[in-house]
């Protein structure tokens, strides 16, 4: 669907808030706490599709997202920062949600770092409206505290940390009630640290929820042979396997583009995949019989896929 950029508000040199409105005088589909949309961003030679969390919750008049300009951006966030202007039309997807609030839980512990705060900005009004117990800890760089402070409500259970070191994870996770669910969003190293700490003291998987953030980062180029389509392709270093398939005019299954939903899984016939997803089990990764095309790449010069 088409969306018009209604407003762009700089929050810092590298962070901007975008307000999007439906092209016609209609309403958007309702978003939700934790939902994201895909933005199609025009580039000189191709279209980028980036996922951004909606921070506007269920509001239908406008969507809001926050975009950090990624260092060495492939084109998506750089275009939004340097070329996007109010009035421009963008193609966006309908919202999807891979990071919903576990509504049957009574307590919610939210841990974020950096731009990973965005899904929680849509959580907070819902948690407050339904009187659900929650605690939010947001970590950022010392010099970015003044960027994030205005985004957060001034509540005793919301804490801003000027470095990750001021957050004693083990103490925090140990002190939680049994009916608490944990949500974590931020850079991969942050999420891995939180989840490892939680598992070490016995948190069950079912109570740990992670948002994959940042998405595909590129890597060494490789070749892919599609056995059923009879097509051979080069996957460039700044391109995902999924993007390579799409740019060849193919319609492979896909949804989240972040390695989380599992929709884009394809069987691997030859070659060794380099997994970057959050979906496959450890056993499935080791077996190497399938690949999530949206984020994963190849450890061998060539992959042969059953597609």
């Amino acid at each position: 669907m088409k969306a018009r950029i209604e407003n762009i508000e700089p929050l810092s040199a590298t962070i901007k808030r975008f307000t999007l409105a439906p092209e016609a005088a209609k309403l958007f589909p309702a978003g939700a706490a934790g939902a994201f949309i895909l933005l199609e961003i025009p580039g000189p030679s191709r279209v980028w599709k980036n996922a951004y969390s909606l921070i506007s919750g269920g509001r239908r008049e406008t969507y809001e997202i926050i975009v950090r300009r990624v260092a060495h951006s492939r084109g998506g966030s750089a275009w939004l920062h340097d070329h996007a202007a109010p009035g421009q039309l963008l193609e966006i997807s309908e919202p999807a949600n891979l990071f919903p609030i576990a509504r049957a839980a009574q307590n919610h512990l939210l841990l974020s770092a950096g731009i990973g705060i965005t899904p929680f900005l849509s959580y907070l009004p819902v948690l407050q409206a339904h009187n659900l117990g929650f605690e939010l800890h947001h970590c950022c760089k010392q010099d970015e505290q003044e960027i994030f402070r205005p985004l957060l409500p001034n509540l005793p259970n919301v804490t801003l940390h000027g470095s990750r070191n001021s957050l004693d994870l083990t103490a925090l996770l140990s002190a939680q009630k049994l009916n608490t669910h944990l949500y974590v969003c931020g850079p991969e190293a942050f999420m891995d640290g939180v989840i490892a700490a939680a598992k070490k003291i016995g948190w069950p998987d079912a109570k740990i929820h992670e948002e994959s953030f940042g998405g595909a980062t590129g890597g060494a180029p490789f070749r892919v042979n599609l056995a059923r389509s009879g097509v051979a392709l080069e996957v460039a270093s700044d391109q995902t396997l999924l993007e390579a398939l799409e740019s060849a005019g193919l319609q492979p299954p896909r949804m989240c583009r972040g390695g989380a939903c599992g929709v884009c899984e394809l069987p691997v016939l030859e070659g060794v995949p380099d997994h970057h997803d959050h979906f496959l089990t450890a056993a499935a990764r080791a077996a190497g019989k399938s690949i999530m095309t949206c984020v994963s790449r190849a450890k061998t010069p060539e992959l042969v896929l059953d597609f």
């Binding site: 589909p29 309702a30 939700a32 599992g262």
Partner: protein
């Protein structure tokens, strides 16, 4: 869509419900081939299909008034037919929004929805409802939002919460079911509520179906058909009321089987709800007497062949051993052995 609603008919007691010619021609006949077997028959729920029953997101037909009245009667006797667990309140509003918007868009002559941000006005002309309320404020409605809107829509609905990589039946409005109980299933997980189904568990059908549904996307609803046989056009064939309808099975004779025996088809839809991330499962039931069905030549012939060659386990599961042969004998004279087109379109425009 232009439809004319019949005055309220009965789906109990004297069973006055009948299908008009138009209703027979739009019936969602479930057998695309002469042989029926279980399979994954899920497809995108997009507008348009073999008959007009597929034209709307939620189908309203000539039986609207009678079915709403029958639901109200069932709820008076047994309020537990509508239950929603407290954590599903957002899914209740999601459902109300989806149903009101769909009905107002598909049937502007019957329903109207006016919105000024959260101040909504809902007009249901057939039922004489004109209600202004605040979206999100339950106290501005005469009953909880899910019950409020599902009292005004044909078909049963259940709400599935998604958590722990599973689906839980955490709410529903179920007054026209084919022998299952919301009160019994409420709170169950996907495999638990499908427990009674034979064979399919061993085949892994439910593991695959669950994996598929966990990834159901917003804005991309899917549908499938299910079918069984019901004696008399009775909507409420519930376990709770088995003493009322169970004995009907023993009353069927070769003389009245065409009038009494009904093919019951469920047009099931699955829709991801936006705010709650829950799944709304719609079970839109259609009943057609055999004497009505056989007026479509293709349906009479195909129904005969399907029942004649049906796998014995399915005969047993659908509860039809007692009268299966009687139905085959009733249908056989209509079947001249002609080769039929595949698909479920009636292949005739008049009866």
């Amino acid at each position: 869509m232009n439809i004319s609603l019949k005055p309220a008919e009965t789906f109990r007691g004297d069973f006055s419900a009948r299908n008009s010619d138009a209703a027979i021609l739009r019936f969602p006949f479930p057998f695309p081939e002469d042989v029926y077997m279980y399979g994954v028959n899920i497809e995108p729920h997009v507008r348009g299909g073999p008959t007009a029953a597929y034209d709307a997101v939620f189908d309203i037909d000539e039986h609207y008034l009678g079915e709403c009245e029958d639901r109200a009667l069932t709820l008076i006797d047994d309020p537990a037919r509508c239950q929603v667990l407290p954590h599903m309140i957002e899914a209740e509003w999601d459902t109300l929004e989806l149903l009101m918007e769909s009905l107002a868009t598909d049937y502007p002559d019957l329903f109207n929805l006016t919105k000024n941000r959260t101040a909504w006005r809902w007009q249901n002309r057939p039922l004489g409802i004109d209600h202004s309320f605040i979206f999100g404020a339950a106290q501005s409605l005469p009953c909880p939002p899910f019950e409020y809107i599902t009292r005004q829509v044909q078909g049963d609905f259940t709400l599935q919460d998604q958590r722990d990589n599973n689906l839980y039946m955490d709410g529903g409005m179920v007054t026209s079911q084919a022998d299952w109980s919301l009160n019994f299933d409420l709170g169950m997980s996907f495999h638990e509520w499908h427990g009674p189904v034979p064979v399919a568990h061993e085949l892994g059908v439910f593991d695959r179906a669950l994996a598929y549904l966990l990834r159901l996307q917003y804005g991309k609803p899917v549908r499938r058909l299910n079918w069984t046989l019901t004696v008399n056009p009775r909507l409420d064939t519930s376990p709770e009321n088995y003493p009322l309808w169970g004995p009907d099975k023993a009353t069927v004779t070769p003389e009245d089987i065409g009038e009494k025996m009904c093919l019951r088809v469920e047009l099931q839809t699955l829709t991801r709800l936006p705010r709650s991330n829950a799944i709304l499962f719609g079970i839109r039931g259609y009943l057609i007497r055999l004497e009505e069905l056989v007026r479509v030549k293709k349906y009479a012939k195909r129904m005969h062949r399907v029942l004649r060659d049906l796998h014995p386990d399915i005969v047993e599961y659908k509860g039809m051993p007692r009268y299966r042969q009687m139905i085959i004998d009733y249908l056989a004279p209509f079947d001249d052995g002609e080769i039929l087109s595949s698909g479920t379109a009636p292949d005739q425009t008049r009866l």
